[in-house]
Symmetry: C2
Subunit: 407 residues, 2 copies
């Protein structure tokens, strides 16, 4: 493996730093465009941000999206996406895009509830889609037809090459919250070896996607809730020629512990590379992450809660309104009179309440558009606040006082 990888077409410039925290404004360049950071990456799990078109995403000022390797390798398959021109053309998104390694879902589905555990919500549910983890890789069953599949670091890089996103991620074992320190340490070191194999495979492929555009690779910081392991893992990623850093694995049992865990890693990641925090996207979490130096976030939450009728709203307890609530039945106001999204420009709370109660698909589309617009506005205001040294004031506008925040 070389000491450096050129990553042509990619760049990351830090434009402003907050003197009061580790927060920074940056510019992340990819072959599909440049975005400012901090920014939020919307989840298009199966090559679609649920219920909205790429044109609508753009209308709500979305900069960057991601898709999930695990879902796409199973259906429609990376080869099909490659034959149809790669993920950008396939799904009609021409902006920057990230794919993950596939590891998270293998382990999440394998452990049954790792998604909960990584965020500290314990559960005893177990399924058996994950068959075996070994040094070589992970054997698991397809969630669609039960077929046995095997994912190695090399195969993950190869699939991501065929999918053709700009930003790709090394395979790691995503350790859940309930495992012990020894397991976490052994797993983390295996993930580091998987990171080296991912980089070697990336270099072997010339750093190019199947349609000939350059890609750039993220290394992942593991280490669970253990400060020395987080440091070791962050230093591992900084020592390798990754383009960028992602903070993954268990982030603890609650929001405060998430902040602690990220804080363990951040002083030790490569200071000049973009840093992504995997799977976190609450408004309060974003202010915490930004202050620790996180540049990008992703989470299914904005569009998932939209499908349950929850509209993101700055400054209210719980960060959202439940539009299914009967008090909105004859409410002629838009979701948020201060919002300029398509839903707020055209429709009332009363109408969206009706659509939700009637089970109309349009409700999910409209609340999704709103929540997407809110996240994009949040990130624009966060960037502006960093530039002007007013991050605390922005946080007070967006986040309700702690005493009234619902769990």
């Amino acid at each position: 493996m070389p000491q450096t990888i050129p990553y042509p077409g990619f760049g990351f410039d830090i434009l402003h730093r907050d003197p009061a925290s580790r927060a920074r404004v940056g510019r992340l360049t990819t072959p599909h465009g440049t975005i400012e950071t901090p920014n939020f990456i919307f989840c298009g799990t199966k090559a679609s941000v649920k219920g909205v078109t790429p044109a609508q995403l753009r209308e709500e000022r979305t900069d960057i999206i991601l898709s999930n390797t695990y879902h796409l390798m199973i259906q429609p398959g990376a080869e099909t996406v490659a034959r149809l021109g790669g993920l950008h053309r396939f799904m009609g998104w021409d902006g920057p895009m990230l794919t993950d390694s596939g590891g998270y879902q293998i382990f999440a589905m394998g452990h049954g509830s790792v998604a909960d555990e990584i965020k500290g919500r314990r559960s005893q549910v177990r399924e058996k889609t994950l068959l075996r983890i070994s040094e070589e890789g992970a054997e698991f069953r397809s969630y669609t037809n039960g077929e046995k599949l095997f994912l190695t670091p090399e195969r993950s890089v190869d699939i991501q090459r065929k999918l053709g996103a700009d930003l790709v991620v090394q395979l790691d074992e995503c350790t859940p919250y309930h495992v012990d320190r020894d397991y976490t340490a052994r797993s983390m070191r295996m993930s580091h070896r998987w990171g080296d194999r991912s980089l070697a495979e990336f270099v072997r492929g010339g750093g190019l996607s199947a349609n000939g555009l350059p890609q750039a690779m993220y290394g992942i910081v593991q280490g669970g809730v253990y400060p020395d392991l987080r440091r070791e893992s962050a230093e591992y990623t900084a020592d390798r020629p990754f383009f960028a850093t992602a903070v993954g694995g268990s982030l603890g049992a609650h929001k405060d512990q998430m902040v602690e865990v990220v804080a363990m890693a951040m002083p030790h990641v490569h200071p000049d590379r973009p840093v992504h925090l995997l799977g976190i996207g609450g408004i309060v979490d974003i202010f915490a992450g930004v202050a620790l130096g996180i540049d990008t976030f992703d989470c299914v939450s904005p569009t998932r809660i939209a499908r349950h009728g929850w509209a993101l709203m700055p400054g209210v307890p719980g960060e959202r309104l439940n539009l299914r609530n009967a008090r909105f039945r004859e409410d002629a106001d838009p979701i948020d009179p201060a919002c300029d999204c398509h839903a707020c420009r055209r429709f009332s709370r009363g109408y969206i309440h009706h659509l939700l109660k009637a089970g109309e698909m349009l409700a999910l589309q409209l609340v999704s558009l709103h929540n997407i617009a809110v996240m994009n506005r949040l990130m624009r205001e966060v960037r502006e606040a960093i530039r002007t040294g007013t991050l605390d004031a922005a946080r007070r506008r967006w986040v309700a006082p702690a005493a009234t925040v619902k769990a």
Copy 2:
């Protein structure tokens, strides 16, 4: 009841007549805009054309939509819609709009399967939401909470006034296919009396919606499959000061009988009024209806079949492609290379096939947009064909040879 009703803000001008058939091009004016006929009215059953925004409807060149009184009187209720500014403002549609009387669904749900029977598909399924039909009106149970409701001609007009659509429809009893001639005749004559009561209530309300805009009323032609009854009913509507005529009730057991039934009525409807054919919207049916003098059609089919992955396609057997078919898996073409809808401009059959297989909402939105665009293009081409005397040629472009049409 007056001999005439002024219908201010409304008009219907016949601009061209086809010398070879009863087809005609007209201009239908309403307080929310003018449309050319023949035209297709898209169903926004519960105040939403499923899965698409009004802006998207407009982008696909939609002229006119309808909503269903039955669904809206139950949820959210006509009073709620009125308080939120009427149906146009409520659902964000600023163009012409029709509401039906509520009768069709009461009887459809009451008989369990009248929708099938009206189109000749017999079934023995029966539910008991329809409790009683009397001279006074229809008593039925709400499909949401079982509450007993009573709909009279007067109440239907009042609800439609509160909803505030431009075009409103008299209450009728929608007789299913399986009833005998005597029942059909008695029911038809009751519907005529209901028509008179509807007009009287309409006049009593000043012909204005709750938000003060004028409305215009359709009379309905009933009479089942019996030529003398259809004639009697058509003459009834022509003798009364309805703004327009709708052909309803059982249209027979199959497509040929539908054409026969419509042909029984059309020589006897008022020749200067717009004529709507209720619930019919297959491409082949539209060519048949237009030739008989029908000016507008409505049907849930274009958007309903979209949600099952069926894309309308001119000239193919069955009028549609099944995009779930495995042969589209790696098909890089748009649904129809000749179509300029949003879905065809941006996405491949392969991608939409993937979305359908993955259960992604976006599939339903994209195929709906396509089918809406196809219906609007069909109607534009039908109008142009009438103007240029080329209706047969247009029919040959759009409809596959009969021998290959699937049932």
